[in-house]
């Protein structure tokens, strides 16, 4: 999809690989909405099973699936990495990953069945590390790095830590280790997950896509060069120091909040410097995501100085809004383009145009659904029955995405089956 570094779609995986990960992520999102009807506002109590399950449904099930779709697509074209046997590789990841995620969620809800933790650790450990480590190894071998590829390497390294730390936590829960480091390891696990993996990957990809998609000036070199590596080292340093000084995370969180807020403000400014100020839904998804990031970081900052109980759940809601909004923005750029371009590359004259695959108005409707979802989550903090509306909107939001994937898939297959091929190259 992205052409800057002299690479082409020839190296990219088949469309089905990308679609499968997007679809899996959407199904996990629908499941999250369904479970909300049962868990209700208990999800805002961080120590509850509901919160643990809901958080992992969103971070592991939704975000990781969507981000694997992006990685399988972008590693070949941004970083020039040829993923050998992409279909086989995707299959080896997606099935054990899906099963491992479900087993883990069941484990949280049935903690007496410790074999569920063992099984999920095996399935997730093997599938995730078996995919991430070769990707990371290929990235580290690159001769010519872009800022994006360096950032992606930092994000993938964070993901390796997330998985390794999770394996320790699961081993503690299963009783294989005594769990004496459970508390600092848990803090490192979610910090690497939220800041090192999710935020860092979004930041790294934005260095490339904001300028290209929205024709903005590039990010300042000092930001694109040092921000990802700075976040990674801050997380690594804090993890090690926390074994001796547990309160170090307070200082780290303040620094991370300041860094991420500065990034969000800079990106919002870049979006005001677009050469063609035509605003589609994806720009609004970015704006919503970046504003949510600022609000989430602001909540974290204030939390360090006050005891206001509402701030914690607000920081969770805003961080979720940040990650999901940007994932949706990328989805609405990636899916129509890839479907259209794969068909054109195959020579189909009757390939549907991008706006026929997903109409801009469809993306805008989803923007309103997504915005309403976030607002109702916030409202449920003040008036708990709103959580039922939030649950219904979550199902609608991910159902909307699922439908777009199915629609694009059927258009693709229909064109391949009955489409008219053009022959521009009579000289071939």
């Amino acid at each position: 999809m992205f052409s800057q570094n002299g690479l082409s779609l020839d190296q990219a995986p088949p469309l089905s690989v990308i679609f499968r990960f997007f679809f899996l992520g959407s199904l996990f999102g629908i499941l999250a909405g369904v479970l909300l009807f049962f868990y209700q506002t208990e999800i805002f109590d961080a120590s509850s099973t509901a919160a643990l399950t809901f958080t992992h449904l969103l971070t592991l099930g939704v975000m990781l699936s969507f981000m694997f779709a992006a990685l399988f697509q972008m590693l070949p074209v941004i970083a020039g990495i040829t993923l050998t046997s992409p279909v086989r590789r995707a299959n080896l990841l997606i099935y054990p990953f899906a099963l491992g995620s479900i087993t883990l969620l069941l484990g949280f809800n049935f903690p007496t069945l410790s074999w569920l933790y063992t099984l999920s650790a095996f399935l997730l450990g093997v599938s995730l590390l078996g995919t991430i480590i070769p990707m990371l190894s290929d990235l580290l071998k690159l001769q010519n790095h872009s800022f994006s590829s360096k950032g992606m390497a930092a994000a993938l390294l964070s993901l390796v830590f997330v998985v390794l730390l999770a394996l320790y936590l699961l081993a503690s829960l299963s009783g294989y280790v005594d769990g004496s480091y459970y508390v600092p390891v848990k803090a490192a696990h979610y910090s690497f997950g939220l800041f090192g993996w999710i935020a860092l990957l979004i930041i790294s990809i934005s260095f490339q896509v904001i300028e290209m998609f929205y024709v903005t000036p590039p990010y300042p070199k000092i930001v694109s060069m040092y921000l990802p590596v700075g976040i990674l080292f801050l997380l690594l340093g804090s993890t090690i120091t926390a074994f001796f000084i547990p309160d170090i995370w307070i200082l780290s969180e303040i620094l991370l909040a300041l860094l991420l807020s500065a990034y969000a403000l800079l990106t919002l400014k870049r979006l005001t410097q677009r050469k063609r100020p035509l605003t589609d839904a994806t720009v609004w998804f970015w704006r919503m995501g970046l504003s949510s990031l600022i609000l989430s970081m602001l909540s974290i900052l204030i939390l360090n100085f006050t005891e206001l109980s509402l701030l914690k759940p607000l920081s969770y809601i805003f961080f979720t809004s940040f990650a999901l909004s940007i994932v949706f923005a990328m989805f609405y750029k990636i899916v129509p383009f890839l479907t259209w371009f794969h068909l054109n590359s195959q020579g189909y004259f009757s390939a549907p145009l991008m706006h026929e695959i997903i109409h801009p108005k469809t993306a805008k409707k989803h923007l309103y659904i997504h915005l309403a979802t976030i607002i109702t989550f916030i409202a449920s903090l003040f008036f708990s029955p709103f959580i039922f509306l939030a649950a219904a909107l979550t199902i609608l939001s991910f159902g909307w995405i699922s439908y777009q994937i199915i629609h694009a898939h059927f258009l693709y297959k229909k064109t391949q089956k009955s489409g008219e091929k053009f022959d521009m190259g009579s000289m071939n």
Partner: protein, 87 residues
């Protein structure tokens, strides 16, 4: 040779590719597509190459890319480029 100019420097991705591919379908032996782009459009060049078009891509000192694509294999695109712009 008739030049079909296309300045996509201020268009958002993937509009440049969409417009260029539309024009490619209509090219014949007597014309060529001249694109001014802020990036080197590798997917387009790959696609045009696979379809048997003759392509030339050059970056100028301002960082703009000049892309020439024709169906006519007997035309020297470098000469056409030199006549159009100092790169």
């Amino acid at each position: 040779m008739i030049k079909i100019p296309l300045d996509v420097r201020e268009l958002e991705h993937p509009k440049p590719l969409e417009l260029a591919m539309k024009i490619l379908r209509e090219l014949n032996e007597t014309n060529y597509l001249y694109i001014l782009h802020r990036k080197n459009p590798i997917p387009l060049l790959d696609f045009a190459g696979e379809q048997g078009f003759q392509c030339l891509n050059k970056e100028d000192t301002h960082g703009n890319w000049h892309i020439l694509i024709t169906k006519n294999k007997n035309i020297d695109l470098q000469t056409l480029l030199n006549g159009s712009f100092d790169v």
